[in-house]
C-alpha cells in the first residue's frame, strides 16, 4: 500500500518524466497558426456554457481559454459531507469549452502557489503527448499554455492525469470537464439536415469515494494529501459513496433547476470521466443522441436512456413538448436517488392533452 510520502513522490517522478517529453522539438506547423485570428473566451461555470456560434463564422481561429486550478474543500451532499476537491476553475465539473472543427484551442492553465499538488490536463479531443498531459504538468506557483488543433468533432472529456496513482485520485477529486468541437456548419440530424438548439446545458457526473469513520460517518480531512491513503482504499472497492451531477447532490434542483420552455430545443452535454452512466429524462426522450458524443456519426433517434461510457462525453438533443418538472437522472435509480445523481428541468408552457391526459382521476375501485 502506498503511503502519502510515496504518493507525493510519485508526483515528482511523473514531473521528471514530463520534463523529458517537454524537451521534444516544437511542432513544425506552429508558424501557420501565428497569422490566424484569435478570440479570447471567458469561461462560465456549469451547467451553463459560454456564448458561442453554432455555425462557425469565417475561417479557423485560435480560441484562448484560461483556467485556474483550485484545491479547496467542497460540500457534496445535503448532509455536509466534505470532499477535499481539486477543481478546474473552481467548479466540478470544470467548464465546457466550445470551439469549431479546425480551430485551435489554446489553454493557459494556472496552478497558484496556494495549492499543494502538481496538476496537468489531458484533453481527449487532442492528439499527442497523452492528450496534452505530457506538456502541461505544473507545480504550485507555475502556469503553462498548451495549444491543440480541434481535428475531430464531438464532445470530449478532459481531466487531470499527473501520473500513476495520482490520476484516478485527481479525477475522483473533481478534476474533469469537457470540450465540445462543433462541425463548422453546426449540428446535423441522422440525414445530415441542419439542427440547432435554443439552450445548452453541460452536466458533469462525478463518482466520489469518501472514507467513513468507525461509526460509519463520512470523515473530514484537513488537506487533500491527508485523505489519500484512505480514499484509495475506498476507490479500490469500486463502489462510490456519491454519484452526483455538477459536483453536489441536489446542485441542479430547486432554485438551480435547469429551465426551458415548451417548444424549445435543448442540447444536454453529459460527461463522466471515470465511470459508466446512463442518463434518462423522466417524461421526455432523446430526440437525437450522440451516445459516444462524436458528431461525425449520425445521431441515434428517440432514445429512452443513453449510455455514456466512463471517460467520455455524450450529448442529447430534445425539444420539450409538455410543461412540468422533469427529473434528469442516471437511470441506475439507486445512484439517482440514494447516491445523488438527479437533476431537474422546470419547463413552462401549454399542456398537450393529445400527448397525455388523465382520463379519470384516482377513485375507489368499482366491482
Amino acid at each position: 500500500m502506498l503511503t502519502r510520502r510515496e504518493a507525493l513522490l510519485g508526483t515528482v517522478l511523473a514531473a521528471a518524466a514530463v520534463a523529458t517529453v517537454g524537451a521534444m522539438p516544437a511542432v513544425a506547423s506552429a508558424k501557420e497558426v501565428v497569422g490566424l485570428p484569435r478570440e479570447k473566451v471567458t469561461l462560465v461555470a456549469p451547467p451553463f456554457v459560454h456564448a458561442h456560434d453554432q455555425v462557425a463564422k469565417g475561417g479557423p481561429k485560435v480560441v484562448e481559454f484560461t483556467m485556474t486550478v483550485e484545491e479547496k474543500p467542497v460540500v457534496i451532499d445535503a448532509d455536509g459531507t466534505q470532499l477535499n476537491a481539486m477543481t478546474y476553475n473552481g467548479s466540478i465539473p470544470g467548464p465546457l469549452m466550445v470551439v469549431h472543427e479546425g480551430d485551435y484551442l489554446e489553454l493557459t492553465l494556472i496552478n497558484p502557489d496556494t495549492n499543494t499538488l502538481a496538476h496537468n490536463i489531458d484533453f481527449h479531443a487532442a492528439t499527442g503527448a497523452l492528450g496534452g498531459g505530457g506538456l502541461t504538468l505544473i507545480n504550485p506557483g507555475e502556469q503553462v499554455t498548451l495549444r491543440f488543433k480541434a481535428t475531430r468533432t464531438g464532445t470530449f472529456v478532459y481531466h487531470c492525469a499527473p501520473g500513476g496513482p495520482m490520476i484516478p485520485w485527481h479525477v475522483v477529486s473533481g478534476m474533469s470537464g469537457a470540450v465540445m468541437v462543433l462541425p463548422r456548419d453546426g449540428l446535423g440530424d441522422d440525414k445530415g439536415k441542419s439542427i440547432r438548439y435554443d439552450r445548452i446545458y453541460y452536466i458533469g457526473e462525478n463518482d466520489f469515494y469518501i472514507p467513513r469513520d468507525e461509526q460509519g460517518k463520512f470523515k473530514k480531512y484537513e488537506t487533500a494529501g491527508d485523505n489519500y491513503d484512505e480514499t484509495v482504499k475506498v476507490m479500490r472497492g469500486l463502489i462510490p459513496t456519491h454519484v452526483v451531477f455538477n459536483g453536489k447532490a441536489g446542485s441542479l434542483t430547486g432554485e438551480n433547476a435547469m429551465k426551458a420552455k415548451v417548444g424549445e430545443t435543448v442540447l444536454i452535454v453529459h460527461s463522466q470521466a471515470n465511470r459508466d452512466t446512463r442518463p434518462h429524462l423522466i417524461g421526455g426522450h432523446g430526440d437525437y443522441v450522440w451516445e459516444q458524443g462524436k458528431f461525425a456519426n449520425p445521431p441515434a433517434k428517440d432514445l429512452e436512456t443513453w449510455f455514456i461510457r466512463g471517460g467520455s462525453a455524450g450529448s442529447a438533443l430534445y425539444t420539450f413538448l409538455q410543461p412540468g418538472i422533469y427529473a434528469y437522472v442516471n437511470h441506475n435509480l439507486i445512484e439517482a436517488v440514494e447516491l445523488g445523481a438527479t437533476a431537474h428541468f422546470a419547463v413552462d408552457g401549454t399542456w398537450d392533452d393529445d400527448l397525455m391526459k388523465q382520463v379519470e382521476a384516482p377513485r375507489a375501485i368499482t366491482s
Binding site: A78, I282, P323, I325
Partner: protein
C-alpha cells in the same frame, strides 16, 4: 407559501397552558416506574386547519379543504420530542429496535419509523400505566400553533394544464430556500412556541397517527364525498407536512423526486387520561 396562523377560538389563548411537573400524585406514581416526560396541557379549542391528504374536486387536484378542526378535551402533549436516552431505555428493555441514528442524552431520537414510534408508545404505556399515543394530525397542528405550515401546495389544479400546479408547488418549495440541516440539536434548541411546546418545526419531523388519504371534495370545496385511506403511509409533521411509509426511518430516502424530504424523523406523544387501575396493578406487580 406563508405560515398558516391558527385561529384559536374561545378562551384558549394565553392562560391555557399548564406545564405539568412531577407534582401530581398520578405523575408520582408513573414516575416510580419511568421518569414521566414533561407535558404541556392545552385546553380544548377549535381552529382553522387544512386537512391532510390529496384532494380532488370534480376530478382535478384542489387545495386541501380548510375546516374548523376541534380538539375536544384538554390535550396533554410532550413538551419535547422523545429523546435518544428515553428511547434507549425501550431498546435496552428489548421492546424497541435501535434507531438508525446513534444518538444520546437529551437529543431527540431520530432514525425511527412509524412502527418504532408505535413500539415505544406501547412500551411507555406499559411502563407507566398511562395510555400514550401518537398525536393525530389535528392535535399536532393545534400544539404547533403558529409554527404549523401544512403541505407545500400548488393550489388548485388547472384542468387544462396540470403542470401549472406542479411548477407552482416546485417553485414555492424552492423559494422557501430551506437548506438541509441533518444534525439533531439538544432538546429545546429550537425554542418554544406560543403554547409552550418546544422544538416544533425544527429539524426533526414527527410521526402522527393520521393516515394518508385520497379524498373527493364536494362542490362546496369542504365536504368530503368519498375517501380512501392508506394507513401504510402516515402524516409526518414539521417544517412542512408530508407523508411517509410506516417503515421509513430516514426521511431523506423517503422523499419523492421533487419533494423536500424531512431532515430527520422522530416523534412526541400525547397522554390520555391516566388509567389508575392499571397503574396500581402494575405497581403491585401485576401486569
Amino acid at each position: 407559501m406563508s405560515f398558516n396562523p391558527i385561529v384559536a377560538l374561545g378562551s384558549i389563548a394565553t392562560a391555557a397552558l399548564i406545564v405539568m411537573g412531577a407534582t401530581s400524585a398520578l405523575d408520582r406514581l408513573a414516575g416510580s416506574l419511568v421518569a414521566s416526560p414533561e407535558l404541556v396541557t392545552l385546553t380544548a379549542g377549535s381552529f382553522d386547519h387544512p386537512r391532510p391528504g390529496e384532494f380532488l374536486g370534480e376530478g382535478h387536484p384542489v387545495a386541501a379543504p380548510r375546516i374548523l378542526a376541534t380538539v375536544g378535551a384538554p390535550l396533554k402533549i410532550m413538551k419535547y420530542q422523545v429523546t435518544a436516552s428515553e428511547y434507549g431505555r425501550c431498546v435496552t428493555a428489548g421492546s424497541c429496535k435501535a434507531s438508525d441514528t446513534p444518538g444520546s442524552g437529551n437529543f431527540p431520537v431520530t432514525g425511527v419509523s412509524h412502527i418504532d414510534a408505535e413500539a415505544y408508545t406501547a412500551w411507555l404505556s406499559a411502563q407507566t400505566g398511562a395510555t400514550w399515543r401518537l398525536p393525530t394530525d389535528t392535535e399536532w397542528a393545534y400544539a404547533a400553533s403558529e409554527r404549523f405550515r401544512g403541505d407545500i401546495e400548488g393550489g388548485a389544479g388547472d384542468p387544462n394544464n396540470p403542470a401549472l400546479r406542479w411548477l407552482a408547488q416546485y417553485r414555492t418549495e424552492a423559494s422557501l430556500g430551506r437548506k438541509s440541516d441533518p444534525e439533531p440539536r439538544v432538546q429545546g434548541a429550537f425554542g418554544t412556541n406560543s403554547k409552550g411546546v418546544a422544538d416544533i418545526a425544527g429539524n426533526v419531523w414527527e410521526w402522527t397517527s393520521t393516515c394518508y388519504v385520497h379524498a373527493a371534495v364536494a362542490r362546496n370545496g369542504i365536504s368530503i364525498v368519498s375517501s380512501i385511506d392508506n394507513c401504510g403511509v402516515h402524516v409526518v409533521e414539521g417544517f412542512h407536512r408530508t407523508y411517509m411509509s410506516n417503515f421509513i426511518r430516514d426521511g431523506k430516502s423517503g422523499g419523492c423526486a421533487v419533494g423536500t424530504p424531512p431532515d430527520n424523523l422522530g416523534f412526541r406523544l400525547v397522554r390520555e387520561r391516566l388509567n389508575i387501575v392499571r397503574a396500581t396493578l402494575r405497581r403491585l406487580g401485576f401486569s
